[in-house]
């Protein structure tokens, strides 16, 4: 009888440490909550007061370690899974969280602390997080509200990323899907393999890559954007822009510094709006098939070189507010004593039928090189007052 009583006592103590269904720990504001779930969806409710409560399904036996600055919950992988496993975690919103599940979704309401959320498969949805935020999933979308610090949101397979404003730097990656973000106070690196990138604004530099997908960024300090298929659009950039699209339009509404833009097929529109005319303001725009429209301030010192490889037969080709002169190229001049083998026609005459149309000129005595080149399309240069 005594042995039976002893056994029951030991079992009770063991169970008291392992807490199969409910765990509860007192916490302070600086406490870090760590959850390592072998499987299951993590549902984090941040309305708790002074304690952390964790409830899991009957198949999960939770292990709890309550420390002063760190509270950790974990469990062994269940031998049998009979359905959905949900971890219901109630935590004060001032507690930082570091959660990982090896298969399952993560949901969390608003938090005033930092958050690290990781899953090997499943979508992640969070509210506003005031601190630094890291979210990683190997399959599924990420949706987040505003983030008060740096943000790293990463999907290693297909899935879209939606996030609100980010107070710090942003590092956004998905292997297949779109990226949508609000205003970013720092610099942004966004990489979408198969999806559009839409960023409302970035005060810092923007390094954007879509493979393929459209790229839109409302405002940025400097832009380096590349897409294998899609348009690149920007409302205002204070510094330089480097934009490359294999196929798609490029549109820069207000460029504050030098611009280099290339597209395989699509039109290019650039309106220069520099604050400092003494800096480097060179422009190089090139498209395979498409029109080029460039607006330059009247006080800009620039040397223009515009060329159309295959100009339209009946349409206007190079239209410019700045006087440009046609130049003679090796392909268009008549035979001369020094080059008797080349060309046909009369000496000095440009053969405009089927040959490149190339014109050059200067503004304010020349200066910043402006190179505009389309294989098929028209070129327009407008002089504007700022």
């Amino acid at each position: 009888m005594k042995r039976v009583f002893q056994s029951i006592s030991i079992a009770t103590l063991t169970l008291a440490f392992q807490l199969p269904a409910l765990a509860k720990c007192p916490v302070s504001d600086n406490t870090m909550l760590v959850v390592k779930a072998p499987i299951g969806n993590l549902q984090v409710d941040t309305t708790g007061r002074d304690t952390i409560e964790v409830v899991a399904g009957n198949d999960i036996v939770i292990k709890e370690i309550c420390g002063k600055d760190r509270v950790e919950y974990s469990a062994e992988s269940p031998t049998q899974i009979r359905g959905t496993i949900d971890w219901k975690i109630v935590v004060p919103r001032t507690v930082s969280v570091d959660l990982i599940t090896f298969g399952g979704s993560i949901r969390m309401t608003d938090s005033d602390a930092s958050a690290t959320l990781r899953t090997t498969g499943g979508p992640v949805s969070v509210g506003n997080i005031k601190g630094k935020t890291t979210i990683v999933t190997q399959g599924g979308f990420i949706k987040a509200g505003n983030i008060g610090g740096d943000a790293e949101l990463r999907i290693s397979s297909a899935g879209s990323i939606e996030v609100g404003n980010i107070a710090g730097n942003a590092d956004l990656h998905t292997a297949g899907g779109a990226i949508t973000a609000g205003s970013i106070n720092g610099k942004v690196i966004a990489d979408a393999s198969g999806g559009a990138i839409h960023i409302k604004a970035a005060r810092g530099d923007a390094l954007l890559s879509a493979d393929p997908g459209d790229i839109f960024i409302g405002e940025a300090a400097r832009i380096d954007a590349k897409t294998t298929g899609g348009s690149i659009t920007n409302s205002r950039v204070r510094g330089h822009v480097k934009g490359i699209s294999d196929s798609g339009n490029i549109r820069l509404e207000s460029a504050g510094s030098w611009v280099e833009a290339t597209t395989g097929s699509g039109s290019i529109y650039v309106r220069m709006n520099p604050e400092n005319f003494d800096g480097d303001l060179h422009v190089a725009l090139q498209t395979g098939v498409g029109d080029i429209a460039l607006h330059v301030p009247e006080q800009l010192k620039a040397t223009f070189d515009a060329m159309i490889d295959r100009p339209a037969l009946n349409g206007r080709r190079i239209v410019s507010d700045i006087p440009l002169n046609g130049i003679i190229t090796a392909q268009t001049i008549a035979p001369t004593r020094t080059s008797p083998q080349r060309g046909v026609g009369l000496p000095g005459m440009i053969n405009r039928f089927g040959t490149p149309d190339r014109q050059q000129g200067t503004l304010n005595g020349g200066g910043n090189p402006i190179k505009l080149h389309t294989s098929l399309g028209k070129i327009e240069i407008f002089k504007i007052k700022l």
């Binding site: 399959g139 599924g140 297909a158 393999s193 198969g194 298929g229 899609g230 294999d246 100009p311």
Partner: protein, 285 residues
């Protein structure tokens, strides 16, 4: 022979007579020379006579070769040359026309006059089909490359077909992505549904596949759609697509046949897929 002639007096007499004849012939050879045009004159006369006789023969006789040019023969030859030239020009024109029709890739080839050229078009691969210096007429062929921009409603068959074509354009993944985004909103239409299924199964870009499966998700109870999503769940290498697939399939909580099909995914390597399959199968027991 000389010994025999010395012995035979009669033979010698005959020999001398023959010898004398040969001598006479050789000595007067110049007197027998024929005029140089005698042969031609004789043949012309003969031909004229024959022509008069042959007027009675049928008109379709084959002309015989002759170096003699009678008025009739000259007329014949001129007629033949004219006929040959006419045939040559006709055949040449026919071949040129065929060439234009077969080599031109689109109806934009220059069949009409030059006023039909679009203002913003550019001509490439220009070929001169024919040129007549006498009249100044020239025929050219080539291809017009012209920027295309058009607007239309999604309900329009042509617009829809163009979008479906864009979704199948393997050379431009950007167009495919935009096309699938647009088409996914009209997945209720059969042609769009089929195009999305194709994209889901065959497109190499996970972003395109993701959009396709998201577009098909509301129609996951449709047999063809369900089969395609099941294929993705089973075969797609991208964990994100598989997560979307299990989400799409388990969208409707009750489906006994589907539960049976999903039983094998309750042992899946992907924990999330396994958990969702277990939940669905358990609910349908």
């Amino acid at each position: 022979m000389e010994t025999h002639l010395q012995q035979c007096t009669a033979c010698k007499a005959v020999f001398e007579e023959e010898k004398g004849l040969h001598f006479v012939l050789a000595e007067d050879a110049e007197a027998f020379e024929l005029p140089s045009d005698l042969l031609v004159d004789s043949r012309r006369e003969l031909a004229n006579q024959l022509d008069q006789i042959e007027q009675k023969r049928s008109w379709w006789r084959l002309p015989t070769f002759s170096v003699v040019f009678t008025p009739m023969r000259l007329l014949e030859s001129a007629a033949l040359i004219a006929l040959g030239l006419a045939s040559g020009v006709y055949i040449s024109n026919q071949q040129a026309a065929q060439s234009v029709a077969t080599t031109s890739p689109s109806p934009t080839s220059l069949i009409g006059d030059f006023s039909t050229l679009p203002a913003n078009g550019s001509v490439s691969n220009l070929r001169i089909v024919s040129a007549n210096p006498a009249t100044g007429q020239v025929e050219l062929a080539g291809e017009i490359i012209q920027p295309l921009r058009m607007q239309g409603m999604m309900s329009d068959d042509t617009v829809r077909q163009l979008l479906v074509n864009a979704l199948g354009d393997t050379s431009n993944s950007g167009s495919r992505l935009r096309a699938v985004e647009v088409l996914a909103q009209r997945a209720n239409e059969q042609i769009v549904k089929e195009a999305l299924i194709q994209a889901l199964i065959y497109d190499e870009n996970p972003g395109v596949r993701l959009k396709a499966i998201q577009g098909l998700r509301p129609y996951s109870s449709d047999a063809a759609v369900q089969a395609a999503i099941m294929h993705s769940l089973d075969q797609d290498m991208d964990a994100g697509i598989r997560v979307e697939a299990i989400e799409a399939l388990t969208h409707n909580p009750r489906d006994l046949n589907l539960a049976k099909s999903l039983e094998r995914f309750t042992r899946d390597d992907n924990s999330y897929v396994k958990m969702r399959a277990l939940q669905f199968v358990g609910t349908n027991r």
